[in-house]
Amino acid sequence: MNEINEDTLHFLKTEGFLNEKISLQENDSLTETGVIDSIILLQLVDFLENKYKIEIPVDMLTPENFDTLAGISQTVKKLRTG
């Protein structure tokens, strides 16, 4: 698991959104596994923007970019190298 995935998981655990019963794989849907909804998604976006000093354009808020750890990691990498 890469650094971005670990940071995302840490955020979700710290904020109480992820309990020990859920074991997430990189391509698991965060919404279908009940980890996030649209409100938590915005909190996650805020966390990622602050953590990586990036700005996530609203038109990037799509399931392809934010519904899996793999998608989040790829999106953040893209914006960092932007």
């Binding site: 959104f17 309990n19 980890v35 909804d37 409100i39 805020d46 038109d59 799509t62």
Partner: protein, 335 residues
């Protein structure tokens, strides 16, 4: 041997609530342990952005703002303050009648619309279907993600989601640039949300999934009309604003000011709502199902941010089992 319940030294969350852990060294819950307050500079930045948006709204429809008005203290105060700070705004205030709004809340909403010269709209849906939906929400388990369970009860999450979907639909269909919700700083973290079509499609799909998990068969009436977000339709051009993340939040002061303006206290026995008769039952139902008080997270955040006294929050979290509305609602929902 039974575990001892530990309560966070700073807020009101305790270790009996699933997912809450108290740090043995600091005596704080995980939220207080990692809490960073919003800086003055950030608040000033939010204020400047809200001023810029609301001072000269784009002229694209009949209204500048669609405002979600419950008739409770927070929304009544926000409507008044918005018109005080931005007198030119053309506001359509929407009160969602879920079948459990107190008569006083209906009266308060209309009174504040008159006071602020806002247009009043009472949004109603099929009341029998709504009752059945709330009943299904009460009987459901895990229809919403774990995170949502901390934010509100299953019943309130359903009601709030319907309001959001229908208000967004109204804003898109009337080309209104802003939607304003009077959520407290404990209920939301984002002062501004710019809506895009992909995000709306996703929001609609998620709520549709929640309703489906509850066993609601007829769901379209509760969701954004798909025609407004289908491929080829225009971009929404709508921004949601939460003013209580920009202004200081002081509920006792708001209540005093509202009463001076003619707001009437419905004096419900429920400590957490001044408008909805469904609320006390919804809290009890959530506690019974998940052992989570649906206002604990909200109150804890307000205490953490310094906008509510800890003892006031603890008092609000005491469940009044003898509230007669609990039994009344239970009968109405056929539970």
């Amino acid at each position: 041997m039974a575990k001892t319940t530990k309560t966070c030294k700073k807020c009101v969350l305790n270790s009996a609530t699933p997912g809450i852990s108290i740090n043995a060294d600091t005596g704080l819950c995980q939220f207080c342990d990692h809490f960073t307050p919003v800086t003055k500079e950030k608040k000033a930045e939010y204020r400047a952005r809200m001023d810029a948006l609301l001072t000269s709204p784009p002229q694209q429809g009949t209204y500048d703002v669609i405002f979600a008005l419950s008739g409770g203290i927070d929304s009544s105060y926000t409507l008044y303050r918005l018109k005080k700070d931005y007198p030119h705004l053309k506001i359509l205030a929407v009160q969602f009648d879920n079948g459990f709004i107190s008569e006083t809340a209906l009266e308060n909403a209309q009174k504040f619309c008159d006071l602020t010269k806002s247009t009043y709209l009472r949004l109603t849906l099929d009341q029998t279907a709504l009752l059945d939906t709330f009943s299904k929400a009460a009987r459901s388990k895990d229809a919403y993600p774990g995170s949502a369970k901390y934010r509100a009860s299953d019943i309130c999450n359903t009601c709030i989601s319907i309001i959001k979907q229908k208000i967004i639909e109204l804003a898109v269909s009337t080309k209104t640039p802003f939607i304003i919700f009077a959520f407290s700083p404990g209920q939301t973290d984002a002062p501004f949300i710019t809506l895009t079509k992909p995000f709306l499609v996703w929001m609609r799909k998620l709520f549709d999934g929640n309703l489906k998990a509850m066993g609601v068969a007829e769901r379209d009436a509760y969701l954004i009309d798909a025609a407004y977000i289908k491929a080829g339709s225009s971009e929404p051009q709508v921004t949601i604003i939460h003013p209580f993340l920009v202004w200081d939040y002081d509920k006792p002061k708001f209540k005093k000011e509202c009463i001076q303006l003619g707001w009437i206290d419905p004096e419900l026995k429920d400590h957490n709502s001044s408008n909805c008769l469904l609320n006390a039952f919804a809290i009890k139902n959530h506690l019974d199902k998940y052992h989570i008080h649906s206002y604990a997270y909200d109150m804890a955040a307000l205490v953490r941010q310094g906008t509510m006294k800890r003892e006031d929050a603890l008092q609000k979290l005491a469940v009044n089992e003898s509230d007669p509305s609990i039994k009344e609602v239970q009968q109405k929902l056929k539970l």
